[in-house]
């Protein structure tokens, strides 16, 4: 399942770059995110819960930064499982920042997500819709945090 999107933030690229690597800000922006801790310079551990109708899931995720080119590209891999339950998620992610003509930043993201186990049985169609909605919530919160604090 591929998830991709682009949004603009009215804040300069260097500032956005700092913030996308700030766990304290991210935990407030990612819907359902309970905690993020940095476990080494290139890796983070996160707990995220997701609810789709009657189904609730709580994932323990590890996000590893595979490569980064400041201040414009981060390539990362997310992998995780659902505690004792039998679902495994993995995604390969690319995040790109570029300046806009008006001094803001254009953020583009792509993630290729795979899900196996009990949640895989539910079908990815509706998870994709849910992922798109969560991305929208994220963008709204992220933009508010950066623009207000600017």
């Amino acid at each position: 399942m591929k998830i991709a999107g682009t949004f603009e933030v009215d804040a300069p690229q260097d500032r956005v770059w700092d913030k996308v690597r700030d766990p304290e800000l991210m935990v407030q922006c990612i819907p359902g995110c309970e905690s993020i801790e940095q476990i080494d310079p290139m890796a983070y551990r996160a707990k995220v819960s997701v609810k789709v109708g009657p189904i609730s899931a709580r994932f323990n995720l590890v996000v590893t930064v595979l490569s980064e080119e400041a201040p414009h590209t981060v390539i990362s891999r997310t992998s995780g499982e659902e505690g004792t339950r039998a679902s495994v998620v993995a995604s390969d992610n690319v995040l790109r920042l570029e300046p806009t003509a008006t001094g803001g930043t254009r953020v583009s993201y792509e993630a290729d997500v795979s899900m196996t186990g009990r949640l895989g049985k539910f079908g990815l169609g509706i998870f994709r819709k849910k992922a798109d909605q969560l991305a929208e919530v994220f963008v709204g919160t992220f933009r508010d945090k950066l623009e207000v604090a600017a």
């Binding site: 109708g53 009657p54 189904i55 339950r85 009990r118 049985k121 990815l124 509706i126």
Partner: protein
């Protein structure tokens, strides 16, 4: 492990749901038990509505409306002779759910409460302007079907509320039909269409299923189309309005694009059948 509770009144059921945070009501179990078997849902308690009197059966009220108890099985709805004319769509949808044995188990209330976007009742209920009766910790209230589904599997039902009945306006003397495109008989819909003509034969009510979180209906576009059912251009514009409101998923039952392509074809085809039925009557 889940405890199964068997309240004998609705008030007891509401109290049990309020007492246990993770409790869920269970009706026929055809979806909930299947999801439990697949490890998709778990809950501390299931509050069975099985032994509560008065939740089963279909009756005609004094003012002609048809009231279906939430625990009425699909098989009983499919066989009921109370769903005539404009309400035949409800009976026809019931008869196309899953297979005969599952129709002996599943209930209208359970299906509506679960709000699966590809299930058969919601478009039929939307076409028929059903009203849902619910009871919860704050008392009883009614939800018009067109405001019921709010997002994927999310409805206007509040936590702790139980759907108790579905009430339909008195049937009108006008043909109605339910058509479903599915991979095989008994599957969930790839796309479906519930339609009734207005009694003057000049207009329609239509709801599309399986092409978004909830059934798609556009009452204003129906008003614009009134009087122009025989005009293919007007029907095409009407169908385009519904396509614009659709938000289908890509899944094993069909791509989003395929579903969007089905909507105008379903509308044209069911409409043509209903016009023929009206002329034959």
């Amino acid at each position: 492990m889940t405890q199964i509770l068997f309240p004998e009144t609705l008030d007891q059921a509401v109290a049990l749901l309020a007492r246990h945070d993770e409790a869920r009501p269970i009706a026929g179990g055809t979806t909930l038990v299947a999801m439990r078997n697949a490890g998709l849902v778990d809950s501390s308690h299931l509050v069975s509505l099985d032994r509560i009197p008065g939740l089963r059966g279909i009756e005609r009220l004094a003012d002609g409306r048809i009231r279906v108890g939430a625990m009425t099985r699909h098989a009983d709805t499919a066989a009921s002779d109370l769903f005539t004319g404009s309400l035949a769509v409800v009976r026809k949808a019931a008869g196309m759910i899953a297979n005969k044995v599952v129709r002996n188990m599943g209930t209208m209330g359970g299906s509506v409460a679960n709000a699966d976007p590809a299930a058969d009742y919601l478009p039929a209920l939307a076409c028929a302007d059903a009203v849902l009766s619910v009871l919860g910790p704050d008392g009883a209230r009614e939800i018009p079907i067109l405001t019921y589904v709010q997002d994927w599997y999310e409805t206007a039902l509040e936590p702790g509320e139980i759907l108790t009945a579905i009430t339909f306006p008195a049937p009108e003397d006008a043909p109605s039909a339910y058509r479903k495109i599915a991979r095989v008989s008994g599957d969930y819909a790839t796309a479906s269409c519930a339609m009734a003509l207005t009694p003057d034969g000049q207009g329609l009510r239509v709801a599309i299923g399986a092409c978004g979180p909830g059934p798609i209906r556009d009452v204003q576009a129906e008003a614009v189309l009134h009087g122009h059912l025989q005009d293919p251009q007007a029907v095409a514009e009407f169908a385009a309005a519904l396509v614009a409101k659709a938000d289908p998923v890509d899944d094993v039952r069909g791509s989003a694009d395929y579903r969007l392509a089905l909507i105008p074809r379903l509308i044209a085809s069911v409409l043509s059948d209903l016009i023929s039925a009206k002329e034959a009557a």
